[in-house]
């Protein structure tokens, strides 16, 4: 029997080794898998390369993982949060690397990674410093840059419901990077608010088919990042 359920977030992230690349879903606080990130902080893996659109907010979730010194390199489009974080200080001190990728190029690179497309062309960033050093090429009179696919060893993603096959549906704008990160990671680990019975999710509405998911863990009442931050919470 196929059963991708794991009992808790600690078990879900237990094997992530030092040096792993980890895609972390979420855009701002929406879709941020806080409990999985906190389990990863507890677990202790270091020298991580993290792919996320931002660098977290306040002192919880991704911002806490960065503050704990576990992240060697960030790949993101906008390394700023809605609240202060320790990222700027670590970056200026040379203690964290940063690869800046335009947001749509980031999404497409991840999608390409999941779809077995090693490289593609986009007009995004042509003529800007971000395109420097990249291969340029003209198609039908317009100039494009070549971008490479992004894959990762792991993805940490938050969804709304999941089943033992790993099928997922999301909640509103929390969908964001989840579906493509599940595709692009060798091991996609997903926290869901509810695990449902096989067959309960309508095949027409499943957003991420289970083939892209390796582990599902129920976190029935996930923390809301902005509320944690308003309470002055930090982790650990």
């Amino acid at each position: 029997m196929i059963d991708k359920r794991v009992p808790d977030v600690a078990a879900a992230v237990a094997e992530i080794p030092d040096g792993a690349s980890v895609m972390i879903g979420g855009f701002g606080e929406s879709g941020s898998p806080i409990e999985l990130i906190h389990a990863l902080i507890d677990q202790g893996a270091r020298d991580l390369t993290v792919i996320n659109n931002n660098t977290g907010n306040g002192g919880v979730g991704l911002a806490a993982l960065i503050a704990a010194g576990r992240v060697r390199k960030m790949v993101c489009s906008f390394p700023r949060g809605t609240t202060e974080t320790r990222f700027p200080e670590l970056y200026r001190a040379g203690r964290i690397e940063l690869e800046i990728v335009p947001q749509g190029t980031l999404a497409e690179r991840i999608r390409a990674g999941g779809a077995g497309v090693p490289a593609f062309f986009t007009a995004t960033s042509v003529g800007t410093p971000v395109a420097e050093g990249k291969e340029h090429r003209e198609f039908d009179g317009r100039t494009y840059v070549m971008e490479r696919a992004l894959t990762a060893d792991y993805a940490l993603v938050k969804a709304q419901q999941g089943d033992r096959f790993g099928n997922l549906v999301y909640n509103k704008a929390a969908r964001n990077f989840g579906p493509i990160m599940c595709m692009a990671a060798r091991t996609a680990i997903v926290q869901v608010s509810a695990i449902v019975e096989a067959g309960e999710l309508d095949p027409e509405v499943i957003v991420t088919p289970g083939i892209f998911v390796q582990r599902v863990v129920e976190v029935s009442d996930p923390a809301i990042e902005s509320r944690l931050i308003a309470q002055g919470a930090t982790y650990p």
């Binding site: 929406s30 995004t124 704008a173």
Partner: protein, 232 residues
Amino acid sequence: MSDDRKTARPGLSRPQMAWRAAQDIFDGAYVNLGIGIPEMVARFVPEGREVIYHTENGVLGFGPPPEPGQEDPELINAGKKPVTLRPGAAFVHHADSFAMIRGGHIDICILGAMQVAANGDLANWSTGDPDAIPAVGGAMDLVAGVRRIFVITSHTTRDGSPKLMERCGYPLTGVGVVERIYTDLAVVDVGDDGFVLREIAPGVDVQTVQERTAAPLHVAEDLRTIAAPDGL
């Protein structure tokens, strides 16, 4: 919003700038609005025009902010602010959301600017300061992909330096992308031969606009005065 009305001198207030831009949004347009003054534009779209708002993080068809206390942390826009849904809205993932942008499916994007050049170059993400932490977000994707790029910006910086330039001094967001600029002083188009002054704010003269612009302004033959509502 305290500085919405800071322009006591002649020229449009920030809401008036947004109002003016809103008049150019056609019925049925798919529109992406940047953070800041561009966000205000949605308030001023003329009645009878139905507009569908897109936000990079994967909501098509969102509406105004919710009533206080009704915010949903999982229903936010690209500025990470809570929004609501309108009938006909749809959620998509990030790659599909940027397929809408990159694939030319969005009609209009309105952005802020640090500098705009007479050839349509836009700089709005970095001063190039070596100490600054670079942060591009979705701006480069938007200007490369959306059919028409409009800019709303104060005509000059706080210290009076021009933002409409012969060439941008800051690192670019995109090359030759801007079509029209709405400022507190004027509506300026990017034409084949550079800036074209199309409309001018009440009480402002052409010479003043030219003095505050670091590139030649071609004055349109049918130069008009912007008729923004008072009290905005």
